[in-house]
Symmetry: C2
Subunit: 100 residues, 2 copies
DNA sequence: TAATTAGTTGAACAGATGTTCAAATGATGA
DNA sequence: TCATCATTTGAACATCTGTTCAACTAATTA
Protein backbone atom coordinates (compact mmCIF):
# COMPACT_ATOMS: atom_id res chain seq x y z
CA UNK A 1 0.00 0.00 0.00
CA UNK A 2 2.91 2.37 0.61
CA UNK A 3 5.09 1.31 -2.26
CA UNK A 4 4.20 4.16 -4.61
CA UNK A 5 4.90 7.02 -2.23
CA UNK A 6 8.19 8.03 -3.76
CA UNK A 7 6.63 8.26 -7.22
CA UNK A 8 4.61 11.38 -6.39
CA UNK A 9 6.17 14.40 -8.02
CA UNK A 10 5.12 18.00 -7.77
CA UNK A 11 2.88 17.87 -10.83
CA UNK A 12 1.09 14.84 -9.49
CA UNK A 13 0.60 16.46 -6.10
CA UNK A 14 -0.96 19.48 -7.82
CA UNK A 15 -3.30 17.22 -9.79
CA UNK A 16 -4.26 15.53 -6.55
CA UNK A 17 -5.09 18.87 -4.99
CA UNK A 18 -7.19 19.74 -8.03
CA UNK A 19 -9.15 16.54 -7.62
CA UNK A 20 -9.83 17.12 -3.94
CA UNK A 21 -10.80 20.70 -4.66
CA UNK A 22 -13.67 19.32 -6.72
CA UNK A 23 -14.91 17.35 -3.71
CA UNK A 24 -14.39 20.34 -1.46
CA UNK A 25 -17.69 22.07 -2.08
CA UNK A 26 -20.93 21.10 -0.41
CA UNK A 27 -23.03 21.69 -3.52
CA UNK A 28 -20.93 19.31 -5.54
CA UNK A 29 -20.84 16.75 -2.74
CA UNK A 30 -24.64 16.91 -2.56
CA UNK A 31 -24.92 16.42 -6.30
CA UNK A 32 -22.63 13.39 -6.19
CA UNK A 33 -24.49 11.99 -3.23
CA UNK A 34 -27.83 12.46 -4.98
CA UNK A 35 -26.47 10.55 -7.96
CA UNK A 36 -25.60 7.53 -5.81
CA UNK A 37 -29.28 6.76 -5.68
CA UNK A 38 -29.93 6.91 -9.40
CA UNK A 39 -29.17 8.83 -12.56
CA UNK A 40 -31.14 12.08 -12.81
CA UNK A 41 -31.85 15.03 -15.02
CA UNK A 42 -30.63 18.48 -14.04
CA UNK A 43 -34.04 19.68 -12.88
CA UNK A 44 -34.52 16.67 -10.60
CA UNK A 45 -31.09 17.15 -9.08
CA UNK A 46 -31.91 20.80 -8.46
CA UNK A 47 -35.19 19.85 -6.75
CA UNK A 48 -33.54 17.13 -4.67
CA UNK A 49 -30.85 19.34 -3.21
CA UNK A 50 -32.71 22.66 -3.37
CA UNK A 51 -30.52 24.62 -5.76
CA UNK A 52 -31.33 26.51 -8.93
CA UNK A 53 -31.04 24.65 -12.22
CA UNK A 54 -28.38 27.07 -13.37
CA UNK A 55 -26.19 26.59 -10.32
CA UNK A 56 -26.49 22.81 -10.64
CA UNK A 57 -25.61 22.97 -14.31
CA UNK A 58 -22.50 25.01 -13.59
CA UNK A 59 -21.37 22.49 -10.99
CA UNK A 60 -22.15 19.52 -13.21
CA UNK A 61 -19.83 20.96 -15.82
CA UNK A 62 -17.01 20.97 -13.27
CA UNK A 63 -17.82 17.43 -12.15
CA UNK A 64 -17.89 16.28 -15.76
CA UNK A 65 -14.59 17.93 -16.63
CA UNK A 66 -13.07 16.02 -13.75
CA UNK A 67 -14.60 12.71 -14.86
CA UNK A 68 -16.70 12.32 -11.77
CA UNK A 69 -20.04 12.29 -13.61
CA UNK A 70 -21.09 11.44 -17.14
CA UNK A 71 -24.21 12.38 -19.09
CA UNK A 72 -26.48 11.00 -21.77
CA UNK A 73 -29.24 12.80 -23.59
CA UNK A 74 -32.68 11.22 -23.85
CA UNK A 75 -35.06 13.48 -25.71
CA UNK A 76 -35.24 16.85 -24.03
CA UNK A 77 -33.58 15.61 -20.86
CA UNK A 78 -29.93 15.05 -20.08
CA UNK A 79 -29.35 12.38 -17.48
CA UNK A 80 -26.32 12.55 -15.27
CA UNK A 81 -24.75 9.65 -13.38
CA UNK A 82 -21.53 8.87 -11.53
CA UNK A 83 -18.67 8.22 -13.91
CA UNK A 84 -16.35 6.20 -11.74
CA UNK A 85 -16.52 3.99 -8.72
CA UNK A 86 -13.59 5.78 -7.16
CA UNK A 87 -16.07 8.53 -6.43
CA UNK A 88 -17.81 6.38 -3.87
CA UNK A 89 -14.58 5.08 -2.43
CA UNK A 90 -13.23 8.57 -1.95
CA UNK A 91 -16.42 9.74 -0.26
CA UNK A 92 -16.51 6.65 1.94
CA UNK A 93 -12.93 7.20 3.01
CA UNK A 94 -13.62 10.80 3.94
CA UNK A 95 -16.73 9.75 5.80
CA UNK A 96 -14.72 7.25 7.81
CA UNK A 97 -12.35 10.01 8.85
CA UNK A 98 -14.99 12.45 10.08
CA UNK A 99 -16.87 9.76 11.96
CA UNK A 100 -14.00 8.89 14.27
CA UNK B 1 -19.29 -1.23 1.71
CA UNK B 2 -22.46 0.57 0.66
CA UNK B 3 -24.48 -0.05 3.76
CA UNK B 4 -24.03 3.39 5.31
CA UNK B 5 -25.09 5.45 2.31
CA UNK B 6 -28.52 6.34 3.58
CA UNK B 7 -27.07 7.64 6.84
CA UNK B 8 -25.49 10.70 5.26
CA UNK B 9 -27.46 13.78 6.12
CA UNK B 10 -26.94 17.33 4.99
CA UNK B 11 -24.75 18.25 7.94
CA UNK B 12 -22.52 15.27 7.38
CA UNK B 13 -22.20 16.08 3.68
CA UNK B 14 -21.11 19.60 4.58
CA UNK B 15 -18.50 18.24 6.99
CA UNK B 16 -17.27 15.95 4.25
CA UNK B 17 -16.89 18.89 1.89
CA UNK B 18 -14.97 20.76 4.60
CA UNK B 19 -12.57 17.85 4.96
CA UNK B 20 -11.93 17.61 1.23
CA UNK B 21 -11.48 21.36 1.04
CA UNK B 22 -8.47 20.93 3.31
CA UNK B 23 -6.93 18.45 0.84
CA UNK B 24 -7.82 20.71 -2.05
CA UNK B 25 -4.81 22.99 -1.91
CA UNK B 26 -1.43 22.08 -3.33
CA UNK B 27 0.53 23.71 -0.51
CA UNK B 28 -1.28 21.62 2.07
CA UNK B 29 -0.94 18.47 -0.03
CA UNK B 30 2.79 19.10 -0.30
CA UNK B 31 3.07 19.57 3.44
CA UNK B 32 1.22 16.32 4.11
CA UNK B 33 3.31 14.52 1.55
CA UNK B 34 6.52 15.86 3.07
CA UNK B 35 5.39 14.55 6.44
CA UNK B 36 4.99 11.02 5.10
CA UNK B 37 8.75 10.79 5.10
CA UNK B 38 9.30 11.90 8.68
CA UNK B 39 8.22 14.39 11.29
CA UNK B 40 9.71 17.84 10.70
CA UNK B 41 9.96 21.32 12.11
CA UNK B 42 8.28 24.24 10.35
CA UNK B 43 11.51 25.56 8.85
CA UNK B 44 12.45 22.21 7.38
CA UNK B 45 9.02 21.80 5.86
CA UNK B 46 9.34 25.27 4.35
CA UNK B 47 12.73 24.39 2.86
CA UNK B 48 11.53 21.06 1.53
CA UNK B 49 8.57 22.44 -0.36
CA UNK B 50 9.95 25.92 -1.07
CA UNK B 51 7.47 28.09 0.81
CA UNK B 52 7.95 30.79 3.41
CA UNK B 53 7.88 29.76 7.04
CA UNK B 54 4.90 31.98 7.65
CA UNK B 55 2.86 30.49 4.84
CA UNK B 56 3.66 26.98 6.07
CA UNK B 57 2.71 27.90 9.61
CA UNK B 58 -0.65 29.26 8.47
CA UNK B 59 -1.38 26.06 6.57
CA UNK B 60 -0.23 23.83 9.44
CA UNK B 61 -2.78 25.52 11.65
CA UNK B 62 -5.54 24.53 9.22
CA UNK B 63 -4.21 20.97 8.98
CA UNK B 64 -4.06 20.73 12.76
CA UNK B 65 -7.57 22.09 13.24
CA UNK B 66 -8.76 19.35 10.94
CA UNK B 67 -6.81 16.64 12.80
CA UNK B 68 -4.60 15.82 9.85
CA UNK B 69 -1.34 16.70 11.60
CA UNK B 70 -0.24 16.87 15.23
CA UNK B 71 2.68 18.67 16.83
CA UNK B 72 5.07 18.29 19.72
CA UNK B 73 7.51 20.84 21.01
CA UNK B 74 11.13 19.90 21.57
CA UNK B 75 13.15 22.83 22.79
CA UNK B 76 12.87 25.68 20.36
CA UNK B 77 11.45 23.56 17.60
CA UNK B 78 7.94 22.29 17.04
CA UNK B 79 7.81 19.01 15.18
CA UNK B 80 4.82 18.20 13.05
CA UNK B 81 3.71 14.75 11.94
CA UNK B 82 0.66 13.12 10.38
CA UNK B 83 -2.13 12.67 12.88
CA UNK B 84 -4.11 9.90 11.32
CA UNK B 85 -3.57 7.06 8.92
CA UNK B 86 -6.71 8.01 7.04
CA UNK B 87 -4.62 10.79 5.61
CA UNK B 88 -2.55 8.37 3.64
CA UNK B 89 -5.55 6.32 2.62
CA UNK B 90 -7.36 9.37 1.32
CA UNK B 91 -4.34 10.54 -0.65
CA UNK B 92 -3.77 7.04 -2.03
CA UNK B 93 -7.38 6.84 -3.15
CA UNK B 94 -7.18 10.15 -4.95
CA UNK B 95 -3.92 9.14 -6.53
CA UNK B 96 -5.52 5.98 -7.83
CA UNK B 97 -8.23 8.04 -9.48
CA UNK B 98 -5.94 10.44 -11.30
CA UNK B 99 -3.65 7.65 -12.50
CA UNK B 100 -6.35 5.82 -14.45
C1' DT C 1 -43.67 27.04 -37.63
C1' DA C 2 -44.54 28.65 -33.04
C1' DA C 3 -44.59 27.45 -28.35
C1' DT C 4 -42.85 24.77 -24.71
C1' DT C 5 -39.65 22.12 -22.04
C1' DA C 6 -34.83 21.15 -20.54
C1' DG C 7 -30.53 22.63 -20.00
C1' DT C 8 -26.30 25.67 -21.01
C1' DT C 9 -23.63 29.75 -21.05
C1' DG C 10 -21.30 34.19 -19.83
C1' DA C 11 -21.00 38.34 -17.20
C1' DA C 12 -21.32 40.40 -12.84
C1' DC C 13 -21.12 40.26 -8.03
C1' DA C 14 -20.04 38.99 -3.25
C1' DG C 15 -17.60 36.21 -0.29
C1' DA C 16 -13.81 33.03 0.66
C1' DT C 17 -8.93 31.81 0.41
C1' DG C 18 -3.69 31.84 0.34
C1' DT C 19 0.34 34.62 0.62
C1' DT C 20 3.13 38.33 2.31
C1' DC C 21 4.88 41.39 5.63
C1' DA C 22 5.79 43.05 10.04
C1' DA C 23 5.22 42.47 14.73
C1' DA C 24 4.75 39.34 18.63
C1' DT C 25 5.62 35.06 21.39
C1' DG C 26 8.25 31.29 23.49
C1' DA C 27 12.39 28.68 24.49
C1' DT C 28 17.26 28.50 24.90
C1' DG C 29 22.04 29.91 25.63
C1' DA C 30 25.64 33.53 26.47
C1' DT D 1 19.05 39.77 31.27
C1' DC D 2 19.94 40.14 26.37
C1' DA D 3 20.25 38.20 22.03
C1' DT D 4 18.98 34.66 19.07
C1' DC D 5 16.39 30.97 17.03
C1' DA D 6 11.90 28.93 15.86
C1' DT D 7 7.41 29.73 15.17
C1' DT D 8 2.88 32.15 15.41
C1' DT D 9 -0.24 35.75 14.55
C1' DG D 10 -3.08 39.43 12.36
C1' DA D 11 -3.93 42.71 8.79
C1' DA D 12 -3.76 43.77 4.04
C1' DC D 13 -3.93 42.39 -0.52
C1' DA D 14 -4.89 39.99 -4.77
C1' DT D 15 -6.91 36.06 -6.63
C1' DC D 16 -10.22 32.49 -6.95
C1' DT D 17 -14.91 30.57 -6.51
C1' DG D 18 -19.93 29.86 -6.43
C1' DT D 19 -24.33 31.91 -7.29
C1' DT D 20 -27.55 34.69 -9.78
C1' DC D 21 -29.67 36.57 -13.73
C1' DA D 22 -30.73 36.97 -18.38
C1' DA D 23 -30.03 35.38 -22.82
C1' DC D 24 -29.26 31.48 -25.58
C1' DT D 25 -29.41 26.54 -27.69
C1' DA D 26 -31.57 22.04 -28.46
C1' DA D 27 -35.32 18.78 -28.73
C1' DT D 28 -40.16 18.01 -28.79
C1' DT D 29 -44.99 18.78 -29.62
C1' DA D 30 -49.20 21.37 -31.05
Amino acid sequence: MTKNREMMNEKELTELAELFKVFGDSSRIKILYALFETEMGVGDIADTIDMTISAVSHQLRILKQNHLVKSRRDGKSIFYSLDDDHVYKILAMGKEHIEE
